[in-house]
Symmetry: C2
Subunit: 203 residues, 2 copies
Amino acid sequence: MPKRGHYDRATVHAVLDAGVMCHVGYVIDGQPYVTPTCHWRHGDRIYWHGSSASRMLRHLKQGVPACVTVTHLDGFVLARSGFHHSINYRSVMALGHARLVPDEAKLEALRDFVERLFSGRWDELRPPTAQEIKATTVLWMDLDEVSAKIRTGPPVDDEEDYALPVWAGVLPVSSRRGMPEPDARLAPDVALPGYLRPDGGAS
Amino acid sequence: MPKRGHYDRATVHAVLDAGVMCHVGYVIDGQPYVTPTCHWRHGDRIYWHGSSASRMLRHLKQGVPACVTVTHLDGFVLARSGFHHSINYRSVMALGHARLVPDEAKLEALRDFVERLFSGRWDELRPPTAQEIKATTVLWMDLDEVSAKIRTGPPVDDEEDYALPVWAGVLPVSSRRGMPEPDARLAPDVALPGYLRPDGGAS
C-alpha cells in the first residue's frame, strides 16, 4: 500500500472544510456507535451540535473518548486487476474528548456554522430564542490527535498488466449543489439570496 | 423532532445500495475509531474488505462489536430561524459483530463488489492470484439490528415565522459521476466499456 498519511494542519483543515457531514464514533457499554451529523471548524477545533435530548450528545458531553471522521469520495480507480482497484478520496480522522460549548458561547458557535455554509444568512434569520439556545447542545474537540489520508491519481497496476486490453483509469465522483427549491410558503417578494445563486456560495 | 426512523428491510437496503462508502466503528482499548471504507450488500448482509494487514480488519475479524453507518446528504434545509435549519439525508446504522468471509467464498464476494458498481467488469479483469486473495480480508455483518433515518421535504418553521421576509426552502445536494479519465498507459484500441458511458451503469 502506498503511504497516504498527511498530518500537516493545512491539509487537515482543507479536508474538514470541504465537507458538511462528519461521522462521530462513541462507545456505550462496549458497543460502538457511528452517528452522522454536520460539523464545522473554527481554528484548530471541530464543532458539531444537535438537540440537547440527543443520546449521542448527552453521552459525549461527559468527556468520554470520541472519534470524528470526515470523508470525501473523489472517484473510482479502475485497474486492470480487481486487486488494484481503489478509490480516490480525502479523509480526516480526529481522536479526542468532546467538550461542551458553554451557554454564553453557543450563539457565536452556531453563527459560525451558518455563516460557513451561507455567508450573510445569520443576520437575515429570526434570531434564536433563549429556549432554542437551551435546547441546543454544541460540542467541540481539539484537533490534536488527527490525521488525513488522501489518495489521488490513476491506478497503479502490476507492470505486466499494463499491456492487457482492459479499460483502466479514473471515474470521478463529486458532490454538487442543485438549483434552490423555494418553500411553498415563501413570503412574497423574497429574492434568492446571493449565497444561493449558482455562482455564489461555497461548493 | 419529527420521527425519522424507518425499519423496513426494503428501505434499509435501498439506502445501503445507493452508497459506495460506509463508516465502520470499532473500539480498541476503550477508544472508538471510525474508518471509511467501501461496502456492498448481498441479501441481508453488508460486506466490506481491505488489506489483510489493515488494523481495522484484523481487529474486527475477531468478532468484536461493530457499527456500520452509511449516509447520503441530499440537501440543506433552510428555515426562517437558525433553529429549524436541517438537512435532508438518508442514513442507515447497523450494529453487530463482523464475521470473516472464508477463503473459499472470498472470490464470489469480491465479484459481487465489482459487479455491483460496474456490471460486466469482473470478467474483463486479469483474474486474481492466490496471493492476492490471501492478502485480502473480506468481512460481513448480518443486518439484524439495523435502522434507517430519512429526512425529506421543506423546512418546518414556527407558524408565526412563515410571514418573515427570509428565503426558505431546500438546496439539493447530490453525488454525481464525472467523465471517465482514461489511464495514460491504456493499451491501444481499448474502448470505453458500456458501464462507464454516461447513460449506463449505476448512479
